[in-house]
């Protein structure tokens, strides 16, 4: 089996005071894929990333980056990755140019041509002190420093925060090109919308637990359809609510609104067939909704 780009086994982090930020994370990110790491704020995304980078130490479990143990071979691992922190802090007094130069010296490697191309592409202002830059312009510096040495693996924690839609699109293009050249990208975000068009697979984390890993296509298949059926007479919602996966949202005289995944559709139609149907409308799947649904389910499970 090839060495995974990222592998976590039973990775856990409990902070002092007993806060379980991450519980038994098992995760495998393959070479050459874009892996979207999704979850609401405070779910444990940044904790996971900081464990991978050996900025914080696990309470239990292990992690490897490019086959290198993050604790014992962290230096070698970090040589081969690029990182955009979720909360990027730079040296306010330096200009963007001097900040990038300083980071290149810290890494001991500089590819000026590649850096200049990235700077031009994102239109990064290099000659003003960082304290005068907007959040978006600082974020561009964060992206440039992560990509400028052309690393094998990129760990990006909410990388497009503060970027305008045009630049977000430019960033997605950069991700696609990077993947096409055989690199791996681990992209954390709180919004499915941000990753669904570039990620191959997504992992969804909530309250420190990974609750689902699936391909974006499979997720879409599982997305709920919204169905509104109008019957000639009044309807007893129980016969629909009893079906697996179906949620009855609204009953009003003869009108019934429910949501169900594709797999439950056969049951819905058969249940409706016993009655006189006046109208049936089905709305297309909404990916964002299944995402929210997964959050909620995990919530119910935890309660």
């Amino acid at each position: 089996m090839p060495v995974p780009a990222i592998e976590a086994v039973g990775l856990s982090k409990t902070y002092r005071g007993g806060v379980e930020a991450l519980v038994g994370l098992d995760l495998r990110v393959e070479h050459g894929e874009v892996f979207g790491f999704l979850g609401p704020n405070g779910a444990g995304k940044s904790t996971t990333i900081r464990l991978l980078l050996d900025l914080i130490r696990p309470t239990a479990g292990t992690a490897t980056l490019l086959g290198l143990d993050s604790r014992t071979a962290g230096i070698e691992a970090r040589r081969r990755i690029g990182y955009v922190p979720g909360d990027l802090r730079l040296y306010d007094r330096l200009t963007g140019r001097r900040q990038l130069d300083s980071l290149a010296r810290l890494r001991g490697f500089a590819d000026d041509a590649r850096r200049d191309a990235l700077v031009a592409r994102f239109d990064v202002p290099l000659d003003r002190p960082i304290r005068e830059l907007s959040k978006g312009n600082r974020q561009k510096l964060g992206i440039v420093q992560a990509f400028m040495h052309d690393p094998e693996l990129l760990v990006l924690d909410e990388p497009t925060g503060g970027l305008d839609p045009l630049l977000q699109e430019e960033f997605r293009a950069l991700v696609r090109e990077t993947i096409a050249r055989g690199r791996t990208i681990f992209l954390s975000s709180h919004s499915l919308d941000e990753v669904q068009h570039i990620a191959d697979r997504v992992g969804i984390i909530r309250a420190g637990r990974l609750i689902d890993v699936d391909s974006v296509d499979a997720l879409r298949e599982r997305a709920l359809r919204h169905v509104e059926i109008t019957f000639a007479g009044s309807v007893e919602p129980g016969r629909f609510a009893a079906l697996d996966g179906v949620r009855v949202r609204h009953v009003d005289d003869g009108t019934l609104r429910l949501s169900a995944p594709a797999t439950a559709m056969d049951g819905v139609v058969k249940a409706a067939a016993g009655l006189e149907v006046v109208d049936l409308v089905a709305a297309p799947a909404d990916l964002e909704e299944i995402f929210l649904e997964l959050y909620r389910e995990a919530d119910d499970g935890g309660a």
Binding site: R50, L53, L55, R57, I75, R79, R89, L106, Q145
Partner: protein, 267 residues
């Protein structure tokens, strides 16, 4: 790689360091300019001799120190308090800022996500603190040597260098202690407070152990005692300097060890 952290550390404090050097230079020159008016003044010596014993002991105004001479004057006015104070405050500020301050500001996050060993990063920052202290001591030497010639203080160059070496080592110990505290806990307040308290406490022990017998056994923990008082009048205590240097190295070693052991604070 780590050299970049050394460079960054120095670069960030360049302006502060320049102000400190200008400050001690101006202070030294101002004091020296006063000296001709008190030189050989019996009244001034009498005034000083009438100070309470505790104060005299604290400032090292023992029989061998004659404040009417240039060396006694500089010993009393600079080496007894102001010079170590300046140097130590500079060093603690630098040591606390470069590690705990950077962590507080969230800037260590990106730096340590680079291929940099934490211990090595601390050593690079420690080297920057050492260079700052050295520059400050060199500036003090220059100002005092200049004053000595300009106002006839007649300061012996060897003793002056030795005295400043003692002050520099004391400052270095406290600066590296600030690094060690910052390495152990991510708090700039502690990284300033702990070494400052150590400096104040050991200063009192070093100055007063003669007067209070219960303090006497504690004198060995005071860097000020090892460095000795009034280096221009008495000769610097050369044998004590390596002890302070060793303590400083131990503090830096502790810093490099402690930073490896804990979680980096979330920005």
């Amino acid at each position: 790689m780590v050299r970049e952290l050394f460079r960054r550390g120095l670069d960030d404090h360049r302006r502060a360091l320049a102000s400190w050097c200008a400050g001690i230079g101006a202070y030294a020159l101002m004091l020296a300019a006063i000296f001709p008016s008190v030189e050989g003044s019996a009244d001034f010596s009498k005034l000083v001799q009438s100070y309470p014993e505790a104060l005299k002991s604290l400032f090292g105004l023992t029989g061998s120190v004659n404040i009417g001479t240039g060396r006694g004057f500089v010993d009393t006015e600079l080496f007894s308090f102001m010079l170590p104070l300046f140097a130590i405050v500079l060093a603690i500020g630098s040591g606390a800022r470069t590690l705990a301050g950077e962590e507080d500001a969230g800037r260590l996050e990106l730096v340590l996500a680079y291929p940099v060993r934490r211990g090595a990063a601390v050593l690079g920052k420690g080297a920057a603190v050492a260079v700052e202290v050295a520059v400050f001591c060199a500036a003090s030497y220059a100002a005092l040597a200049l004053s000595s010639v300009a106002f006839g203080l007649d300061l012996p160059p060897g003793r002056l260098a030795g005295g400043l070496l003692g002050v520099g080592l004391l400052a270095l110990f406290h600066g590296w202690l600030a690094l060690a505290v910052g390495a152990a806990w991510p708090s700039r307040a502690l990284a300033i407070g702990v070494p400052a308290a150590v400096a104040a406490g050991t200063y009192l022990v070093g100055g007063l152990h003669d007067l209070a017998s219960w303090l006497d056994p504690l004198r060995f923990v005071s860097g000020f005692w090892w460095v000795g008082q009034a280096p221009l009048s008495n000769d610097p205590r050369w044998s004590g300097l390596p002890v302070v240097a060793l303590a400083a190295v131990a503090a830096l070693g502790a810093a490099a060890y402690l930073i490896e052991r804990r979680d980096l604070e979330t920005p």
